[in-house]
Structures are given as structure tokens and as C-alpha cells.
Symmetry: C2
Subunit: 228 residues, 2 copies
Amino acid sequence: MPGPSAAVPDATVERLPLYHQVLADLAREGETTVSSVRLAELAGVNAAKVRKDLSFLGSYGTRGVGYDVEFLMLQVQRTLGLTGDARVVIVGFGNLGQALANYGGFGERGFPVTAIVDADPDKIGTQVPRSDANGESATERVVVEHVERLAEVVRDHKITVGVIATPQHAAQAAADALVAAGIQSILSFAPVVLDVPESVPWRKVDLATELQILSFYQARSGSLQHPA
Amino acid sequence: MPGPSAAVPDATVERLPLYHQVLADLAREGETTVSSVRLAELAGVNAAKVRKDLSFLGSYGTRGVGYDVEFLMLQVQRTLGLTGDARVVIVGFGNLGQALANYGGFGERGFPVTAIVDADPDKIGTQVPRSDANGESATERVVVEHVERLAEVVRDHKITVGVIATPQHAAQAAADALVAAGIQSILSFAPVVLDVPESVPWRKVDLATELQILSFYQARSGSLQHPA
DNA sequence: TAGTGTGAAACTTTTCACAGCT
DNA sequence: AGCTGTGAAAAGTTTCACACTA
């Protein structure tokens, strides 16, 4: 037997969350099956790519019919290792940290923000409403704690993901603290390359980078290709 | 002559903002030159890749020495089409919109948030401090306006970039309004594929997607490869 | 000598096109 | 008839390795 998770290419992995999102939308609308062509349309990619990508998860389609929406969504979840319970700590409660804490999107998509830490004593004790996949619960709150308590907080709440929302100069220290606390992966909003052990996967989201890339494509679409 | 902007590969374009950031850091520290090896180290990529990438901008290095930091930064800016004056409007003043509006990072990096619109009448008139590359100015404020005034706002403030921070269901309408208002490019935080004309480049940042991808790599680093 | 710029090789990703299943 | 799954071709990207030059 082919063994599903033998080796999923990186390019495919990066698209799986997109398919997952589209499948979730289809399921919400009551669709039970979907073809690669339709899925590709909704995801904004080529249909052959969808089929190739999905083939790395296993042979879960039915020829002449398509894919079962619910079942395929489960396979994507399994492949990505989504257990529905990956708790998040936000490090840094400045503008961005507060923004992310109030933004319910993490919780809605299975990554509840379970703790927040900051180095500034004035911020300790601030409360933020806690929201998870079931929406916002009026009673539950997250309280900002001191960054020195990070290891305890991570242990006590069984937190696996750290989000760095500190200023640039504090990002590496935040990463070190997260690693020391035994975190399993890191998402950073600081525009620097982090130095962390191989065993701790991390990603960087730089919002200004996204705008700069857009700037290039916008400039290019204006001057449609040079003459040779 | 080779003509600098003949055709920069997409993969290179996506890394240019990273190099730009590293160069800005070096300049701030007073470094005047940098080798591909050092630049690669700081950017977390391979040195040959740095050289190849930079060669698409032109031959701006000096053999035996390296690259001039300031000059190279200018070339990157020119290639990306960064004029230092690309004004932004945020559509949607919910949790995420407020977060982005208060987060000074856009302005600091040359994309000042110059206007904010929302469909909710209760939010119209709310003020947010305006921050640009020179920091926050106590006097200048951005006032939330009604989304129906979007076209005027875009015209009057010479805004070129739209940021969609609405709920998912309102994202396409926001995109339509931005296109109608003559916006030049769109950054969306809604997890849907937008339908906009070819001439309007757009990108999507889905924060949950980033966490889901991390989930995969974390799961993989645990179970280091299957036996055959 | 130290470090760029670049052909060519290696590898990855995308796309095509169609056999084969339901 | 319709749609998947996949080899094989094409396109794109990364890495190597070294001629070249300041």
C-alpha cells in the first residue's frame, strides 16, 4: 500500500490550508461532493494541480464523481496534523499583540489564544475576551502575564504555538524564551530571521513585505513588458 | 547593456523585501558594504541564491569587496517600485481593522494608513492616530468614513493600496468597491479568493493558514521520516 | 585574495494529456 | 460520460563550481 504521508511536497503543503478553507465553505453550504475543477475554481488554482496535490494524501476521489467534501476535509486535517486543539501564547502586548489578541480569527480556526505575556509591568493583569471555535464566551478571559512566567504558562495551559508580536529588537529574546519554555512552533511578526533549533519550525509574516511585493506587481502591470 | 528590469523571476521578487529589510538594518548599524555571504546569513538563505537574485537587478557588486549597502538598497527599492509614498486605505474597522490601523508597521515601512472606511454608521467618526515613516504625529488623525465615500476618499488622498479587513462574507463587496474606486492593488486578510480584474494585483494573508502550515512541519519534525 | 557573476547541472514544481475506473 | 490519478514533458528554481576581476 502506498502509505499516505510518505512525502508531501512543500509546495503542496502550502496549499492544503487553502483547500481546507474552500472545503469548509462548501460543507457549510451543504455540498457533499466536489470535483477537482470546481475546487480549483474556488481556490484560484489549476485543476491538474489540485488533483496532483490531493493525490499525495491518498486516492480519495471517485472517478466520474469527484471528492467527498467532509471526508476530504478530514484527510487534509489529518495530513496537516490539525487536532483542533493547538493553543497559542502571544508574546508582546503592544499594538500588534493587542490587535492579534482581539482578532478572533485564530480561535475560530482552531488555534485559541490561551495566554498573553509581556515584559512591561504596567500591562500585566489586562484582560482580553477569550474566543475559540465556538465563538466568544462572555465569561472566559485571558489575562496578560509577565514574560518571566512564560515557561509555567506554557506548561500549565499545554500551549504548543508561540506568536511573537514584540518590536523587532525583542524578537530574538522572545524566541529564546519560547524555545526554553518548550514551545513546539513559532509564528513571528517581527521582520527578522530567528535563530531557533532545527526542531522548532517557525514562520515569519511581515505585513510590509506583502505590500512591497504588491508594489512590484502593480508597477509591472503598468508597463507591460519591455521591448527586446 | 543588459537592461536591469528585463524580467525578474517571481521567486526573486518575493525575496527582495527580505533583502531590503536586512540592508536597512545594516545601514542603521553604519555598515557601508556587505558580501553575498553575510547578506545570505542575515536573510537566512544560501549565498549563491543571493548573488543570482541580485544579478537580476543589474551588476552592482564589486568583486573582492561586495555590495554597497545604500546603493543596493536603492536598487531594490527601484526594482520593487517603492516610491516611499504608497498610501493605504483600510476597509473594515472591526477587530482586525482596528488592529491594523493602530499597528504602526505599515506607516513605518512606507505605507501610511491614510484613510479607513466601514459600513457601520456607529463607527463613522472614530479617530485613530496617523503614523508614517517619521513616527506618530500627535496632531494628525485618521477618521473612519462611510464605505460609500470610498471613491472620493481614494481620489482625494491619492490612495493606491486597499487593505481588506472585513469579515469573510463582505470581502468580495469590499474588493468590488475598491476596484470601482480605482485602487491599484489589494491586500486582503479575508480567507477567500477575490474576483478582481487582471490589472489589479492582489494578495491574501491568512493568519490561520500560517499556523496550519506550521502544524504540518511540527508534526513532521516529530516523526522523522517513515521507513521505506 | 576575496568575492562577484553566471553557465550548467540538479532538483522542484507545474502543466499536459490520457489511460482507466465508476 | 465524466472525472480521477499519474506518467511524462515543460517550466521554474536552486545550487554548484569556477572564470574573472577589483
